[in-house]
């Protein structure tokens, strides 16, 4: 067959296009392997430039001025002294005399400054004088629920969710249950702790009517429209660039107030503006995972089968609604549990890696665990009897084997400490998430005549490895190595990516890249067919060469490219034509932890953690394991240490730095083992990173109980709480 590529009939191409499918596992040469991230060397040598690192000619450094009082009236604000400081370019007032500060967070921003140097900006921020009349802080659940409490939001202090439905029937079921647990479980507010704080650099050219924004964002393409609105431009005139970003975990989707202020300063000064939060500001206004206060009841029959669930779960998301997906979470039984939002004068929670799920996991996995010991069948058997599907059961068997459950001496009752006060235990927890992706993403593939291959998509790399598969997927498709492909990402001028939330990035973008690469290959084969007379579809791309199946043509890829004539290959694809490459359905996951507890000091040492995760086709096994490791570490840190502490009387945020807001370090982390579920027979792609951060702390709490009989019903499991729980047991 011979055809003129210039007048290629699109119908012919799309016919071939439909046949795209992921290469079978045995034939893969690039994917489904450990692929070191391609930007790793840039990151460890400091060559990678983050928004924080941007330095533009004539740039000013901006800084916010925050009040530290949750609720107050501004009596007076005076910026005259700040304006006098040498090097100060601009000072703006955000809250005028008479304005209210409604909560500790972005509403605490009273003013902002911009100066020639960061030091001058800092001095100027300090020189802004303001006087406040503080009001009662209302920063705890108890303060908010007090009948005398002032109203925190326009909707009131408590916002009830749906239900409870069938409360009476459920209560009857609970009463009839052979075993029931009624307990209060609490979780503190956790922070995202992005290594790179929130912020951006805005380069606005008013004369040209265009702007480039270097934003630390999880949604490069989507931010163009948002910043355009702030700058009064069309989205087409704003370019967002984020080549590397230092963590977001759900907290970096929009420009936020600091982005809006950066735009205001850019318009006022006509100069590029650098505005990044400092660490205390990050803790005060860049979001958090909501806290939880759950008073619940759970029942089961004599065999451990769950019978009914009830209770009230308060979501503590500050002025936000908080999140909690429900009780009994992923388990199944009639439930009359009700969730409600209890508002405090703190900044709103934001999405954070599996929003609500780590909280729901802790409440439910703890209650299930309490029943497991009450029934006397132990935590593994209890979960085997109640896991809603077979994948979870398979996962439980894997982690139980890996953690050494069969050999564990005390399965149905807590252990007793040895003479040295130490004792060991094992605990479990389950995870879930949805598989798949969402539409909107596109990818372009260009193959130049010199053999260069460029894979372009405006998606961002949060450190998760998307840049690497943007190169690896075309390499696999074209029989090349990853070094042969250049990945272009992190720029809204490229074909659009999707926002990286809900673990959808891989499921949304990988299929698009695969399809675009496939389309490029088909296009290439069409061109070759003019020379070889072998129709598209009759070519093998392998080891950097292209040959026809009949062996009549066999040339290195580069040489084949030189045959392309004067026109490079360009191909593109969107989600609609590639969504068959995305996995559907549900994600599972199970984790087990082995801990040692020192009953003398209350120290908990997590000696071993094991996770298994289903993930469809693992594009990059190293990156997948790295995500599972990260999920476990984040949950371990949450379980052992992390907690936002606000003085209830002063309203002062006491944990606004990394000394007092403690996150796990290397010595907190024992063996961490991540297992990719290769029995998942979905040969299609999905992200899975959120699922991995859900059950780790629950497994640790349950392991503490198994070790010593202390039931930790409040996160984190710090020595003081462990000692208290031990005392309660006695």
């Amino acid at each position: 067959m011979s055809s003129d590529p210039k007048s290629a009939d699109p119908a012919t191409i799309s016919f071939t296009v439909q046949e795209s499918s992921w290469t079978p596992r045995k034939e893969m040469t690039v994917l489904d392997r450990d692929i070191p991230r391609i930007d790793g060397p840039d990151k460890v040598t400091g060559r990678a430039r983050y928004s924080h690192d941007m330095r533009l000619p004539n740039m000013v450094y901006a800084r916010l001025v925050l009040a530290k009082t949750p609720r107050a009236t501004v009596d007076e604000i005076d910026i005259a002294a700040a304006q006098q400081i040498e090097g100060v370019v601009h000072v703006g007032i955000q809250k005028n005399a008479g304005d209210e500060l409604a909560y500790l967070g972005d509403d605490s921003v009273v003013a902002y400054v911009a100066a020639e140097t960061p030091e001058a900006a800092k001095d100027a921020a300090r020189a802004v004088r303001f006087m406040l009349s503080p009001k009662a802080p209302v920063v705890t659940r108890e303060q908010s629920l007090d009948p005398e409490a002032p109203q925190i939001t326009r909707r009131g202090n408590v916002r009830a969710g749906r239900g409870p439905r069938g409360a009476d029937e459920t209560e009857a079921l609970l009463e009839k249950s052979a075993h029931q647990v009624r307990a209060t479980y609490t979780l503190p507010i956790q922070h995202h702790v992005c290594l790179e704080t929130h912020g951006c650099v805005v380069d606005f050219d008013a004369a040209a009517g265009e702007a480039t924004v270097y934003a630390s964002t999880q949604m490069v393409s989507g931010n163009a429209g948002m910043f355009a609105g702030l700058l009064g431009l069309d989205a087409s005139k704003v370019r967002i660039v984020c080549q590397h970003m230092g963590g977001g975990f759900g907290s970096k989707f929009g420009p936020d107030l600091q982005g809006a202020i950066a735009c205001t300063i850019a318009k006022a000064t006509g100069r590029p503006v650098h505005l990044m939060l400092d660490r205390p500001q990050e803790f005060q206004m860049a979001g958090n995972r909501s806290g939880t206060h759950a008073e619940v009841a759970l029942g089961c029959d004599a065999d451990g089968k769950l019978t009914a669930a009830a209770g009230t779960i308060d979501k503590l998301g500050g002025v936000g609604n908080g999140s909690f997906p429900g009780f009994p979470y992923i388990y199944e039984c009639p439930s009359a549990a009700q969730t409600r939002s209890v508002h405090t004068a703190l900044d709103s929670n934001r999405a954070m890696r599996a929003p609500g799920h780590p909280q729901a996991s802790f409440v439910m996995e703890s209650a299930v665990d309490e029943l497991a010991y009450a029934v006397g069948i132990g935590p593994l058997e209890m979960r085997m009897r109640n896991a809603p599907d077979d994948v979870w059961k398979r996962h439980l068997r894997v982690v139980a084997k890996e953690i050494g459950w069969a050999e564990h001496p005390h399965k149905t009752a807590p252990g007793t400490p040895g003479a040295d006060g130490w004792t060991e235990g094992i605990g479990f927890g389950l995870a879930t998430w949805r598989a798949g992706g969402s539409g909107g993403g596109r990818c372009d593939i260009t193959i130049e005549r010199d053999g260069s291959v460029i894979s372009s998509c405006g998606v961002q790399d949060l450190g998760t490895g998307s840049r690497t598969y943007v190169a690896a997927i075309p390499a696999e498709e074209l029989g090349l190595t990853i070094e042969d492909v250049t990945a272009r990402i992190g720029d809204s001028a490229l074909p659009p990516g999707v926002g990286s939330g809900g673990s959808v990035t891989t499921g949304s973008i990988a299929p698009v890249i695969k399809q675009a690469a496939h389309n490029a290959r088909v296009e290439f084969e069409k061109r070759l067919s003019e020379i070889t007379e072998v129709a598209p579809g009759g070519y093998v791309w392998e080891n950097g060469s292209i040959r026809t199946e009949d062996g009549s043509f066999d040339v290195p890829f580069r040489d084949a490219c030189s045959l392309l004539g004067n026109k490079a290959i360009t191909a593109s694809a969107g989600f609609d034509e590639s969504n068959h490459l995305t996995a559907g359905g549900r994600l599972h996951g199970a984790q087990a932890a082995r801990v040692r507890v020192d009953t003398v000091t209350g120290r908990v040492v997590v000696v071993d953690m094991v996770a298994i995760q289903d993930t469809g086709l693992p594009l990059n096994r190293l990156a997948v394991r790295s995500q599972i490791n990260g999920g476990m570490i984040q949950a371990l840190s949450y379980g052992l240490l992390e907690e936002r502490i606000v003085d209830p009387e002063l309203g002062l945020l006491l944990t606004d730095n990394l000394e007092s807001y403690k996150i796990a370090g290397s010595r907190e982390i024992g063996a961490i083992r991540s297992i990719i579920d290769d029995e998942d027979d979905r040969w299609s792609v999905t992200g899975m990173a959120e699922a991995t951060s859900i059950p780790g702390h629950s497994a640790i709490a349950n392991a503490i109980f198994n070790a010593c009989g202390a039931r930790l019903r409040s996160v984190p499991f710090t020595p003081d709480r462990v000692l208290d729980a031990l005392a309660e047991r006695a």
């Binding site: 002063l650 002062l652 403690k662 003081d720």
Partner: protein, 327 residues
């Protein structure tokens, strides 16, 4: 940070004289490794007009033995140098264990002994510029009624800070003395007496050091034959953290009974909490009964605030552990 003048003196005398010129309007401060002072300056907790950088003074450097068998630790010896000193590691593990437990490798490589002994409290109210607390010259200790999980169970009131130094209790258990040089001459003070309680006097300092005085070195006298020692520190976060409680213990056993015993506690009181255990232990064996007596003595008068009651059983447990380790 406020603007300040930096002096890098050629000699100790110049440093002392410059420091002594400080007054209420023009405060002067010593800078060694800067791990605490620079943080305090950045957070406007300290705003000296003149900073005297003593890090280059040769008199303050080094670790070595002196004629009478004492060991001299220069004030500018870094925590890392102490931790890595082979002779100390062999003979006085209490010192290297304390040094090893401090902060992170990066900080230990710069932080000095003099700075460690003279560092300011870590109480999160003190460290928060917004809370004008007793320690800053205010009239309230916010920890007393506030979030006081990390605060004192012993010796507290009116301020409830805990002294943050790990080197201090360890050195006190060895009867160490500090040597100071000041405008009015030199003096030597037992390290145990160097620290003050809030109830003793000015709230804005934790030591008897006068303005203008510089700690030149710390002298560890010759220890009795057969001394065994340990520093047991319990941190909330093992990777790096301050002590929730710590026990510095040095004992000499003789035919199954105690001949010499010294103990000082960290993390529980506004100063290193030195307990005179010689009396209850001398001539007695180390067993559950005597260790319980020591713990009772150590925690005599302990008073829990709303959130730090756990420190009482914790400290008891650590005392028992420390004795187990040495016997």
């Amino acid at each position: 940070m406020e603007k300040f003048e930096l002096l890098q003196p050629k000699g100790l005398r110049e440093a002392v004289l410059a420091l002594a010129e400080g007054d209420a309007d023009r405060s002067t401060m010593v800078l060694a490794g800067g791990q605490d002072l620079l943080t305090e300056m950045k957070e406007h907790l300290a705003e000296p007009s003149l900073v005297v950088d003593i890090s280059g003074l040769p008199q303050l450097a080094g670790i070595g033995e002196v004629k009478d068998g004492s060991i001299r630790l220069g004030a500018n010896a870094t925590i890392a140098q102490i931790a890595g000193h082979p002779r100390l590691r062999a003979d006085l593990p209490i010192l290297t264990e304390a040094a090893d437990s401090i902060a992170s490798p990066q900080i230990r490589s710069v932080a000095t002994l003099g700075g460690n002994l003279n560092q300011r409290p870590r109480c999160w109210y003190y460290r928060n510029e917004e809370a004008f607390c007793l320690k800053k010259g205010g009239s309230v200790c916010y920890a007393a009624e506030g979030m006081n999980k990390y605060n004192a169970i012993l010796g507290g009131g009116p301020s409830y800070i805990v002294h943050p130094s790990d080197m201090a209790p360890a050195l006190i258990a060895l009867d160490a003395r500090v040597q100071l040089v000041g405008p009015d001459g030199d003096r030597e003070v037992a390290l145990a007496d160097y620290y003050t309680l809030p109830s003793d006097g000015p709230m804005t300092s934790e030591t008897v050091r006068a303005n203008g005085e510089i700690v030149v070195d710390v002298i560890v006298p010759p220890q009795p034959q057969g001394l065994r020692s340990t520093y047991l520190k319990f941190k909330e976060r093992e990777s790096y953290d301050w002590a929730l409680a710590s026990v510095a213990l040095a004992v000499v056993m003789d035919g199954g009974v105690v001949r010499h015993a010294r103990m000082s506690l960290g993390g529980v009181a506004p100063k290193p909490w030195t307990v005179d255990v010689q009396g209850v232990l001398a001539g007695r064996p180390v067993n559950d009964e005597t260790v319980a007596k020591v713990a009772d003595l150590a925690l005599d008068g302990a008073k829990a605030l709303a959130h730090n009651g756990y420190k009482i059983p914790l400290t008891r447990g650590l005392i028992a552990r420390a004795f187990q380790q040495l016997s």
